[in-house]
């Protein structure tokens, strides 16, 4: 109950932030504008529009996670409101979890709002097109392009937004964990660095597996980086979703395992944050 009260207060406070509202409006406008892209014909345009839409949601999600998360606890300390809260029967871990959930709620509302607008806009674009032709263009004789009706609702985009959401669910926990002992500016850069390193996981995985070019020690170093740093690359599956012709036999398994990975990692980070916050002199 206490946790939920803190979460609600945090959410209301975060949603009032002007900068957040500006990000949201700009992102929504960019999604709508991206749909006006018509240059190469339906198939290519849809690829561009889908990839741009998902990227806008991704970048906005990144900025929102960072800007919300870095101030959650330091603001309470700076404004000394934390003393009032902790003087009540509120345990420190409850405070940490409540703050995290508040931030998460804000993130959820923003990402899903962008997501819904994106999916509706895609459906409108598909409905306006109606039919597309298949087959290489410009053929003559017996090679005539054939037309078929486009599916208006693309469920794979929902999965794309879900994976983006879990990516920033995990990043929010990283930011939260750092925020108990770092200043907002340091936290911003540290969290962003973790995000970049974690997103470049294919590179570390590649180097850790390259027995021909790298020695045991170097491989071990990359293996440690690959294991310890949260792997944000697991959640970047937009390529499969933008090109549904590419069959992936194990996608449901991969998605569920990735979500399990995020949940376990978030629990781990919240425990670390609680321990550190508990030992901190406030």
């Amino acid at each position: 109950m206490v946790i939920w009260t803190i979460a609600k207060t945090t959410y209301r406070e975060a949603m009032r932030k002007k900068i957040l509202q500006v990000f949201l409006i700009v992102a929504l406008a960019m999604i709508v504008l991206a749909l006006s892209f018509t240059q190469f014909g339906f198939q290519r345009d849809m690829t561009i529009v889908k990839s741009l839409g998902l990227t806008i949601i991704l970048v906005s999600g990144l900025i929102i996670s960072l800007t919300i998360g870095i101030t959650l606890i330091p603001n309470e300390v700076d404004r000394r409101t934390i003393y009032t809260i902790l003087s009540k029967p509120v345990k420190r871990y409850e405070f940490v979890i409540g703050k995290f959930l508040g931030g998460l709620l804000t993130l959820s509302v923003n990402i899903w709002l962008m997501g819904i607008v994106f999916i509706v806009m895609l459906a409108i674009k598909a409905a306006l097109i109606g039919e597309v032709s298949t087959g290489p263009a410009g053929f003559v004789g017996d090679v005539r392009p054939e037309t078929y009706k486009v599916q208006i609702f693309d469920p794979s985009m929902l999965l794309g937004i879900l994976m983006i959401y879990f990516q920033f669910f995990l990043l929010s926990a990283v930011v939260m964990c750092f925020s108990v002992f770092m200043t907002p500016t340091v936290n911003f850069f540290a969290s962003f660095a973790v995000y970049l390193v974690g997103s470049a996981a294919p590179i570390w995985a590649s180097l850790a597996a390259d027995k021909e070019k790298t020695g045991l020690l170097v491989r071990g170093f990359y293996k440690v980086i690959h294991t310890i740093i949260p792997n944000f690359d697991y959640f970047n599956i937009s390529n499969r979703l933008i090109h549904p012709h590419h069959e992936v036999r194990s996608l449901p398994l991969f998605v569920s395992e990735s979500i399990a990975y995020a949940l376990v990692y978030v629990c781990l980070l919240l425990i670390i944050a609680s321990i550190v916050f508990d030992s901190r002199e406030v």
Partner: protein, 494 residues
């Protein structure tokens, strides 16, 4: 927090850390290991053959950064927009690195492979619009990379077979192979990935490719399958366009059977052909009349029990070829060929159907065709060690071509029994560097390249063709072609 509580939390954190490691193992396998075949990662990042791993490190930081934070497809799409701008401004060379980067960032953008390979095959030309053949191996390598990355759908297979092997290289065996592979795969809806029926033209082009490569039984079988597919579509969907598709298949199948009969004396094929043509849904009056005439002929041949072959007696091509240097890097190739006097069409078995000879004779003398048009000779002037049969050998897409290599390919039409072509290579030193000491000039006529009306007299594979000097049965086993090869020294050209 009490000490014991804190210790239990630390222990729990350690347990969770171990759990993270345990979950990571199967995830890494699905995500990064090519053996999982999940395809969640662009195949070229971690490649067991080590063919492409270094590519990641060749890219500039902004691409790695963009790719790393999940904007791979957006960056690829925007780069492709840039490539389009380069194309329209004529900066063709600049497109090639973009093709490489875009296909690396997003290996499932099919049109980047198709357009990139088409660009390589067709758009690099000399001053006389002859394409630079040195770009064909990278074009094929790019298409094969597209197939490796998108093996489940028909698109890339068809494009490689049709656009490159059939249209550009005129290698009908490879064209039939790759289009045949396309017929084994379905199409996918671009929005949802749901399996859809493949466009009808894929099987029709496979039938054409089989016919071109001389595999007539398979061609007939494919036309029958194409017809069955279209009839099924017509029954199920009742769309007007399928009436046309059904007639297209029937006309091609029927005519191919008749040609088998005319050219090779196959009465059974004649019977099959007539049977199919009689069921045409919407024949024009001329077609109806032609079918009736052919049917009357069939009755006649059946009564006798055998029929003559239009490829008999063989046409003596009497090919004569001369070449000479006009000035430095300008070679004139000229000669004569007995391909193909109109008289050779008199009394053909196919005549009651085609009526070509009769109608030609009825024209005023000045408008009568004395020779049938459509025979073309192909010409290759290249380094002596250049092997035209090894165009598919390049393993990996790399647009850096050997600039010291000289390859020119052109074709010349035989008109009124004569041909003449001037190969001017003086204006394009980048394409024709002549760095080697020895060259070859190859001139050939492949009956498989010839149009239908020429094949009506000499057969699909040149069975009705002969020549005292240049008949060649070794280059393409099973095909009687004409081929002359001359060895040139550098001084013969420069």
């Amino acid at each position: 927090m009490s000490r014991s509580k804190r210790l239990s939390l630390v222990a729990l954190a350690l347990v969770l850390l171990v759990t993270v490691g345990i979950i990571q193992e199967p995830l890494d396998f699905l995500r990064y290991d090519p053996a999982s075949k999940s395809g969640l990662q662009p195949a070229n990042i971690i490649d067991k053959d080590k063919k492409e791993t270094s590519l990641l490190f060749d890219l500039s930081l902004q691409f790695i950064g963009a790719a790393a934070i999940g904007m791979r497809e957006a960056v690829a799409s925007l780069l492709w927009v840039r490539a389009d701008e380069f194309f329209h401004s004529g900066e063709y060379e600049a497109i090639l690195p973009l093709v490489r980067i875009v296909t690396w960032l997003d290996p499932h953008q099919l049109d980047v492979y198709s357009t990139g390979a088409w660009h390589l095959d067709y758009n690099f030309t000399d001053s006389e619009e002859r394409s630079d053949r040195r770009y064909i191996p990278p074009a094929i390598a790019l298409m094969r990379e597209g197939i490796r990355n998108n093996p489940e759908i028909y698109d890339m297979y068809f494009d490689l077979g049709w656009m490159h092997y059939l249209q550009k290289i005129k290698d009908y065996d490879n064209a039939a192979y790759w289009i045949g592979e396309a017929t084994k795969r379905d199409a996918k809806d671009i929005m949802t990935g749901k399996t859809m029926s493949r466009p009808g033209f894929v099987r029709r082009m496979y039938a054409h490719a089989c016919e071109k490569s001389g595999n007539l039984d398979e061609a007939e079988r494919q036309w029958e399958l194409a017809l069955a597919e279209m009839e099924k579509n017509l029954r199920e969907k009742r769309e007007n366009s399928f009436y046309t598709e059904v007639d297209v298949c029937k006309k091609n199948l029927g005519l191919m059977c008749l040609r088998k009969a005319w050219r090779y004396g196959d009465i059974a094929a004649y019977e099959r052909g007539i049977k199919v043509l009689e069921t045409l849904g919407n024949p024009d009056p001329r077609q109806e009349q032609a079918t009736k005439a052919a049917k009357a002929e069939l009755v006649k041949w059946k009564a006798i029990g055998k029929m003559p072959r239009d490829i008999d007696p063989p046409v003596d091509a009497k090919l004569e070829i001369k070449w000479k240097k006009i000035k430095s890097k300008v070679i004139l190739v000229e000669g004569t060929a007995n391909l193909l006097p109109s008289e050779y069409y008199k009394n053909l078995v196919s005549e009651p159907y085609t009526l070509w000879y009769q109608e030609n004779q009825q024209l005023p003398p000045e408008r009568q065709e004395k020779w049938r048009t459509g025979c073309k000779l192909r010409i290759l002037l290249a380094d002596y060690d250049y092997d035209y049969s090894k165009l598919s050998d390049q393993d990996r897409f790399d647009w850096e071509i050997d600039k010291t290599q000289t390859v020119l390919m052109d074709e010349v039409a035989i008109y009124n029994g004569k041909f003449s072509i001037k190969l001017d290579m003086s204006k394009d030193p980048d394409m024709y560097s002549f760095s080697k000491d020895k060259y070859k000039l190859v001139v050939w006529f492949n009956p498989q390249d010839a149009p239908d009306h020429i094949q009506d007299r000499i057969g699909w594979n040149g069975e009705g063709l002969t020549d005292a000097k240049y008949l060649d049965t070794k280059t393409r086993p099973g095909v009687k072609m004409l081929r002359a090869e001359f060895v040139l020294k550098k001084s013969d050209i420069l």
